[in-house]
């Protein structure tokens, strides 16, 4: 077990190294894409270009550039933005993390609860109109682009029906820190949470339903029924419990992907200054160090989430321990 854990850790470090190399190569070594031209701005003279290239170490060989960049990103942590001179990249990203986490954690609570309810109800009423209706709704949720759904939510709650009793409580777009005003924090985030969770409620509900239906045909369910346990208890205690292994795996991966950049569109639409919005703003100004930092931060988050999921999976389901 310990050996497997260490091997998995080593693998994680390798993948992270691979990701940092890929991200670096995309931004600094794509054929025809000269980063110094970006930093110097449009119509820069050759001398300026040379100067910029030298200042940022872009005239050195690629491996050296890579090492320098990683050193400034992780060791000295003094990488500065190309656009807003003097703005340090790492602290800016660190300040944005609580906002992204607030958004994703709240949405996660909603989608786990929603997914459980939808999946269990649909699985228990398999084949009925309730089941079909829920599955259709779930599919509809999966099919809407999240940024568009966010705009529709804004249209309804900020403009069209903002003056009615239903949505007059909705504050203007933006983030309120939890430590300053917990109730304001909740009010500011509840609409973004709902929008972000919509997709996942559909997804999780469908996956859970399929898994429950498969589980309910297993032998141990028949045994449980033969023991005289009530149908509700069989469903919730025996069927659901085994189905949750797949649920947990999916949750870990999706949570990691969302914290690592997947929430970008939601943050942009609702004006939340999280890591995704940071990436988006850096994207508008082509601020390469900022983009590199957010991309690498995000990838690491995803890799870590994968790692945690594997461990959890091994704890929850003993069969998975020797499979790898």
């Amino acid at each position: 077990m310990l050996f497997a854990l260490l091997a998995r850790l080593g693998q994680m470090v390798l993948v992270m190294f691979g990701i940092s190399v890929v991200a670096f190569l995309i931004f600094f070594a794509t054929p025809g894409a000269d980063p110094s031209a970006r930093i110097a701005g449009r119509n820069a003279s050759q001398e300026t270009l040379q100067q910029v290239r030298h200042d940022f170490g872009l005239d050195r060989p690629l491996p050296v550039q890579y090492a320098l960049m990683m050193k400034r990103l992780f060791v000295t942590r003094d990488l500065t933005s190309f656009v807003n001179r003097g703005q340090k990249v790492i602290p800016t990203v660190m300040n944005a993390i609580p906002i992204t986490l607030s958004l994703v954690c709240g949405a996660a609570v909603l989608w786990v609860l929603g997914g459980l309810v939808v999946g269990v109800v649909a699985g228990a009423t398999r084949g009925s109109y309730v089941d079909r209706g829920l599955m259709m709704l779930g599919l509809a949720g999966i099919s809407m682009p999240v940024f568009w759904l966010g705009e529709v939510a804004n249209l309804v709650t900020q403009s069209r029906w903002h003056d009615t009793w239903a949505f007059s409580w909705v504050p203007a777009l933006g983030y309120v820190p939890l430590s300053v005003d917990p109730w304001g924090w909740f009010k500011a985030l509840v609409i973004p949470w709902t929008v972000l969770a919509t997709l996942y409620v559909g997804l999780y509900g469908r996956v859970l339903r399929a898994s429950l239906i498969e589980m309910m045909q297993e032998d141990f369910i028949r045994t449980a029924r033969a023991k005289g346990i009530g149908e509700t208890r069989v469903l919730l205690h025996h069927g659901l419990r085994t189905s949750l292994v797949a649920f947990v795996t999916m949750f870990g991966l999706d949570f990691g992907a969302l914290v690592g950049g997947g929430a970008l569109l939601t943050e942009v639409v609702f004006g939340l200054q999280g890591v995704g919005k940071l990436t988006y703003d850096a994207l508008q100004t082509l601020d390469l160090p900022m983009i590199l930092a957010t991309v690498i931060y995000a990838s690491f988050f995803v890799v870590m989430a994968n790692f945690v999921v594997d461990i959890l999976h091994a704890i929850l389901d003993p069969r998975a321990r020797d499979a790898r």
Partner: protein, 340 residues
């Protein structure tokens, strides 16, 4: 009740092939057939975009029309009217007329006909989704089959590369590639790709999903290689080439077909997201994502501009997902391909 007459002997008939079985199953799935019909209608409407622009809307959906006027209910109106909200400053594009004719869904803030742009944008959205799906499936099948079939070092190298790409958050990978590639023309050998070319979103979207398809195909090929009919073929002295073509590929094809509608749905969503972030389809071309972006500034005054393309995306993707479910159930009921 005693019925002692023996059953009539069935006519001997050739066993039904797998394709016929799948087709029979699909034909019984009414939801999937309805979804297919919706998809065909959307496709036909988008292909008819030039006809709509010429005969119905009568305006050029790619040219700004800031000073135009149209006649609605016998009254002449400016395409960009003086704003009636707030201080009355600025211009608001004309809203939907809801009549078959010019500006049925209103104008965007450059005075262009939204309905006509919607149809032209749909062409790009569908074309990019389709081309990216083809690219992704071809490359992923090649990589997956090669890795699974040859195994050993080839498999190790390919699998590790896929692992790294897989761990890269897909959305960020697409964004990173887009930023670098779209900001300036790209030279690959003798080919120059214009920065506004549709080829860029196609390649980017096609590439980022390769690991998601290649991995299951590789695993499937490895399972097939261990199956009894492959062992039998080896025992009969079949060459590796023949095993690949006769035993492996036909079994992989059904898996790939199951992926097609789901890939199209995923591609539509990611294309709209990239275009919305202005790193997908570049102006003057339109796609459903760029039109939503055009409509963002007009959201509270002229919501139709942003609502219409979003509804178009949602309906198309929903139909693709329903059809995809049907295809999967028909071809490969046991597979657990995940949407999303």
């Amino acid at each position: 009740m005693t019925d002692t007459t023996p059953p009539l002997p069935e006519k001997a008939r050739a066993a039904e092939g797998p394709w016929a079985t799948a087709w029979r199953r699909l034909k019984r799935d009414r939801a999937a057939l309805a979804a297919l019909a919706v998809l065909l209608v959307i496709l036909a409407a988008c292909l008819a975009a030039p006809l709509y622009a010429t005969y119905v809307s009568g305006t050029n959906p790619f040219a700004t029309n800031l000073n135009g006027t149209i006649t609605v209910d016998g009254k002449s109106r400016d395409v960009l009217e003086a704003s009636t909200e707030g201080l009355g400053l600025g211009l608001t594009p004309i809203g939907p007329t809801w009549q078959l004719g010019p500006y049925m869904l209103g104008a965007d803030n450059q005075g262009r006909d939204v309905a006509a742009r919607l149809l032209y944008g749909g062409r790009n959205s569908l074309f990019i989704a389709g081309a990216a799906a083809v690219l992704c499936l071809v490359v992923a099948t090649f990589v997956g089959v090669v890795a699974g079939f040859f195994g050993g070092l080839v498999d190790t190298v390919l699998s590790r590369i896929l692992d790294v790409l897989w761990a890269f958050p897909i959305f960020l990978l697409a964004i990173s590639l887009s930023i670098v590639l779209i900001s300036q023309p790209l030279l690959i050998g003798p080919f120059e790709i214009r920065s506004g070319s549709l080829a860029l979103p196609i390649v980017i979207i096609g590439v980022v999903y390769i690991p998601y398809v290649a991995r299951p195909i590789r695993n499937h090929v490895i399972t097939l290689m261990k199956s009894e009919f492959v062992t039998a073929a080896v025992g009969l002295g079949a060459s590796p080439w023949r095993i690949l073509w006769v035993d492996i590929l036909p079994n992989v094809v059904t898996r790939i077909i199951v992926f097609v509608p789901l890939m199209l749905a995923l591609n539509m969503i990611i294309e709209s997201a990239l275009s919305f972030l202005s790193i997908g389809v570049q102006p003057p071309d339109a796609s459903w994502g760029t039109i939503i972006q055009d409509g963002q500034g007009l959201l509270y005054s002229r919501p139709a501009v942003a609502l219409a393309p979003g509804i178009a995306i949602a309906v198309t993707v929903l139909a693709l997902n329903i059809f995809g479910d049907g295809v999967r159930d028909a071809l490969d009921p046991k597979s657990t391909v995940r949407i999303g």
